[in-house]
């Protein structure tokens, strides 16, 4: 256990974020703002069918169109070779389909042209012959024995082995704890319900964009909007069979991501087009393309059964989770099952999950991937049990809450958690202690566990001769981490924040860093920054020892001062020593290069008040509070922002958002008019309560905070609606029509 630093000056303060001024004057540069000499426009031809065989692709007329500089298809990829040809083919087919399209929007070809109009005209000239197949749009239909098969080489993977027949069920798992049958037999009350939710999209406001340019010596530079520059590099290296050192990925400002910019969608195509056209090419997705051809969260069907005794103790829980993977396997069903019962001590349980392919967009991560719907269903049932047994919903949760050392249904052991503290803070909050009055109004609670992540981060830190510090991090800043990482470095170095500048490095200038996802960056890259700062301090102590001609062990660094105790002549401030560096062996560079294997999880409790118009079913949010264990809040204002933003996305899931498909697999609402995300009018001020239970294995006690807050809102709002008008809606989004239907009014 590391000792958590006390008496902090920079950490825990609320400075303006370093990127703020550029962003309010319109100067911040995003991927779509990149302009290079001779740059062409790239556009992608996408499948109009959800399921079809490609019989032929004729790009001849498009190639001849004046102003077109290149057309690419799967045929332009390096030939398949090696043992893993099946896996490689699927990987490449996701980028550009070779023989089959599996969802509306599946890329088939791309063109580079002088103007968007010419590019569009060229796309119109590409002739693709299809053999249209029956699509599978519904996840339960996809599991049936006679369902049309998306991938004929797919067999169900499970612990029992690999299946024998072609199937759309990519994976199946089952985990059992104790004796669920016995547990339910001991229960006085059992609630058993089925829930559904549609695909939802991250709806980052900035669509994907990638600009590629090749140098004459075969080097590729990509200017991208991504959560992980190294993920983009890996993707392009694998696709085009390049060496890692050939590819430089430059991170631009990211206009929202929320998990949706971990995957590459246009980087490979931009690189292929730029190589063929021998000019820089920018490919930017439109909003409909972003909806139809990037990675939303899984739609799913979930069944949950929980039992409790009359005195309020949970005895057993079971869940079956069926998640849409979209066109290729890989739904976050495991993540959903991992978290759904994790806040509670449950002696007996069973979790069963299915990963199922359907002819829809390939799902990707979205803020707490797979967890929001799982939390929604488990928490609805918890709320129903509490209500049936006559318990206050927070009391009921406190009674069953996990504690230090508790083991979850899937065998995870909780360590250094703040579950109880969060529930107690929610119970004592101004919101919860204020009675809600008035007709058709109700209050609901939702509670969530999220595990967070650690992983690899790299930071370098150069001490300049004027005493300022220039640091480069390999993490992409998607939430304000340039500021929160610099704060941790400044705190460690004993410097004010304005002496430490943090920038995002490209993949040539900094070591490997994992993607900015899993709520990891402030924590893990913070570790790297602190390590780099200690490296700086050690190297400066060595330099001071050299200057003073003393043993390095004699040099102490404390509160920004290097000195030899009891020798007043041997004292140098950080800046004074920095000024001496160039003449005593050049400046000092610190390195922090970590793989964080120990990080803290977090718990959050949300309280929602609603009013429901009983005639129309319209829901108005009256008041909303987020209570979360954030460890030590490095930058409390940014933490609040994460809680408010995450909660608002969860509110969108609860009330408005969802993909609509017709039977042919065509998305019906690929616009921000018909795919409805919350506006400023739809949410109240969102109160936040930061509960600081420090995580002992972080230098400042920080925990990941960004993902948890999306999880509780649907359950909290569903319960509030139930309390208001008696409608318990089990499908998301909880639309006015569903409320009226549940009430039997329509």
């Amino acid at each position: 256990m590391v000792e958590i630093k006390q008496n902090l000056i920079v950490v825990g303060s609320r400075p303006a974020r370093v990127d703020a001024v550029d962003k309010v004057i319109g100067r911040a540069s995003y991927a779509t703002d990149v302009r290079l000499p001779g740059m062409l426009v790239g556009r992608v031809l996408r499948s109009p069918y959800a399921h079809a065989r490609i019989l032929s692709i004729d790009t001849g007329r498009a190639e001849k169109l004046p102003g077109v500089y290149g057309v690419v298809t799967a045929a332009d990829l390096p030939p398949l070779e090696g043992d893993d040809a099946v896996g490689e083919k699927a990987f490449r087919d996701r980028e550009l389909a070779s023989d089959k399209v599996l969802y509306v929007g599946h890329p088939i070809a791309a063109v580079a042209a002088r103007t968007p109009e010419i590019a569009q005209e060229a796309l119109d000239l590409i002739r693709v012959e299809y053999d249209v197949l029956t699509p599978v749009v519904d996840v339960l239909a996809a599991m049936k024995a006679d369902a049309p098969i998306l991938h004929h080489d797919m067999r169900t993977r499970s612990l029992a082995g690999t299946g024998e027949k072609p199937t759309n069920v990519a994976a199946h798992f089952e985990q059992v704890k104790g004796d669920p049958g016995q547990g339910f037999a001991e229960a006085d009350v059992i609630v058993d319900r089925e829930f559904r939710n549609p695909m939802v999209h991250q709806c980052y406001l900035e669509p994907h964009s990638s600009t590629a340019v090749w140098s004459d010596n075969g080097g590729l530079t990509l200017y991208v909007t991504t959560q992980g520059t190294f993920s983009v590099r890996s993707h392009v290296v694998r696709l085009l069979r390049l060496s890692m050192s050939q590819v430089k990925v430059v991170p631009m400002e990211v206009g929202g991501a929320f998990g949706g910019k971990n995957s590459s969608y246009v980087d490979g195509v931009a690189a292929m087009l730029a190589r063929k056209a021998r000019r820089p090419v920018k490919v930017t997705m439109s909003r409909p393309e972003t909806f139809m051809a990037t990675g939303p969260n899984s739609g799913s069907v979930l069944r949950v059964k929980m039992g409790a005794t009359r005195d309020g103790h949970l005895t057993a829980a079971e869940a079956t989770l069926i998640y849409e993977a979209g066109a290729y396997p890989g739904s976050p069903v495991g993540s959903g099952s991992h978290v759904m019962f994790a806040p509670y001590q449950i002696p007996n349980g069973r979790l069963e999950g299915y990963d199922v392919v359907v002819n829809k967009p390939v799902v990707s991560s979205y803020r707490a991937p797979g967890a929001t719907q799982a939390c929604f269903v488990a928490e609805q049932v918890i709320n129903e049990l509490a209500g049936t047994l006559g318990f206050d919903p927070i009391e009921f949760r406190l009674l069953n809450s996990v504690k230090e050392g508790s083991e979850t249904v899937d065998g995870t052991v909780h360590r250094h958690i703040g579950a109880i503290e969060v529930l107690q803070a929610a119970k004592a909050s101004p919101h919860y202690t204020t009675p809600l009055e008035g007709p058709n109004r109700g209050r609901g609670v939702g509670h969530a566990f999220w595990g967070n992540w650690g992983a690899c981060s790299s930071v370098t830190m150069t001490v300049n001769s004027d005493g300022t510090v220039s640091m480069v991090m390999g993490s992409v800043d998607i939430t304000g981490t340039r500021t929160s990482i610099a704060m941790q470095a400044a705190e460690t170095l004993g410097l004010p924040l304005d002496r430490v500048k943090c920038t995002m490095g490209d993949t040539d200038s900094i070591g490997y860093s994992d993607t900015s996802g899993g709520s990891r960056t402030t924590v893990a890259t913070g570790h790297a920054a602190v390590k780099a700062a200690h490296d700086v301090i050690d190297k400066m102590r060595e330099r001071a020892a050299q200057i003073w001609e003393v043993d390095v062990q004699a040099v102490v660094f404390d509160a920004g001062i290097f000195h030899v105790p009891d020798d007043l002549d041997k004292t140098l401030s950080f800046q004074a020593l920095a000024e001496l560096l160039p003449r005593t062996g050049n400046v000092v560079i610190g390195v922090g290069n970590v793989d964080v294997a120990d990080w803290g999880s977090c718990f959050g409790t949300h309280i929602a008040d609603v009013e429901v118009d009983p005639e129309t079913g319209k829901v108005t949010l009256l008041r909303y509070t987020v209570v979360q264990d954030v460890g030590k809040a490095i930058h409390p204002m940014q933490v609040e922002g994460q809680l408010q933003g995450g909660a608002t996305q969860g509110i969108g899931w609860a009330l408005y958002e969802g993909y609509e498909f017709d039977a042919a697999g065509q998305m019906l609402n690929p616009t921000l008019l018909d795919y409805k995300i919350p506006t400023a009018l739809d949410v109240p001020d969102i109160e936040t309560i930061l509960v600081e239970v420090p995580y002992p294995h972080h230098p400042f006690g920080a925990r990941g905070v960004g993902e948890n807050p999306i999880m509780p809102p649907p359950a909290a709002i569903a319960e509030a609606i139930y309390q208001a008008v008696g409608a318990r809606v089990c499908d998301l989004p909880i639309t006015p029509a569903r409320i009226l239907e549940t009430l039997g009014i329509i």
């Binding site: 303006a16 370093v18 962003k23 100067r27 703002d33 609040e640 400023a680 969102i686």
Partner: protein
Amino acid sequence: MTHKQIVTATINGELTEFLCEPHQSLLSCLRDVLSLTGAKEGCNDGNCGACSVILDGRLVNSCLVLGVEIEGREVTTVEGLAGWQALTPLQEAFVAYDALQCGYCTPGMLMAAKSLLDRHPNPTDGEIRAWLAGNLCRCTGYDKIIRAVRAVVPGTAVAPKTAEAPETADVLQTVLETASVDQVKEA
């Protein structure tokens, strides 16, 4: 076949002449022709507000205006808000209240808030929320944006929830000092 047209308009206070296709949106003219990339494209159909600019005193989505339509008219973009020496109080409030995360909606949000305050200097919270409802933000949950706008309404300013004073001025100063001469001209 169409031909490019010459358009003369006052953009951010400067008489500007540019060439554009008749079908080209004002957003595309600003970004692709005039290199004013502050206004962003989020949807290109008027539903996100990221491209909001002020045209003859009215807030508009520049994706739903043709470049040729602004002949003889006045356009203000986010680049025209601040003089080089100082941010406007609204911009300062966005910085101080952390009313942004990714920043992609921020230029449009600022233009919308400016147009609100230009017409209604004393809006209520409800009026602020209604006026900004055409500007989507996916990061913040709007809370801090509303607080920032509220902060510049006379008589209702509430300091950010902190004992420590926000360091807006310092940040601005740093930016000013590190900016090159070219950037000064652009701004």
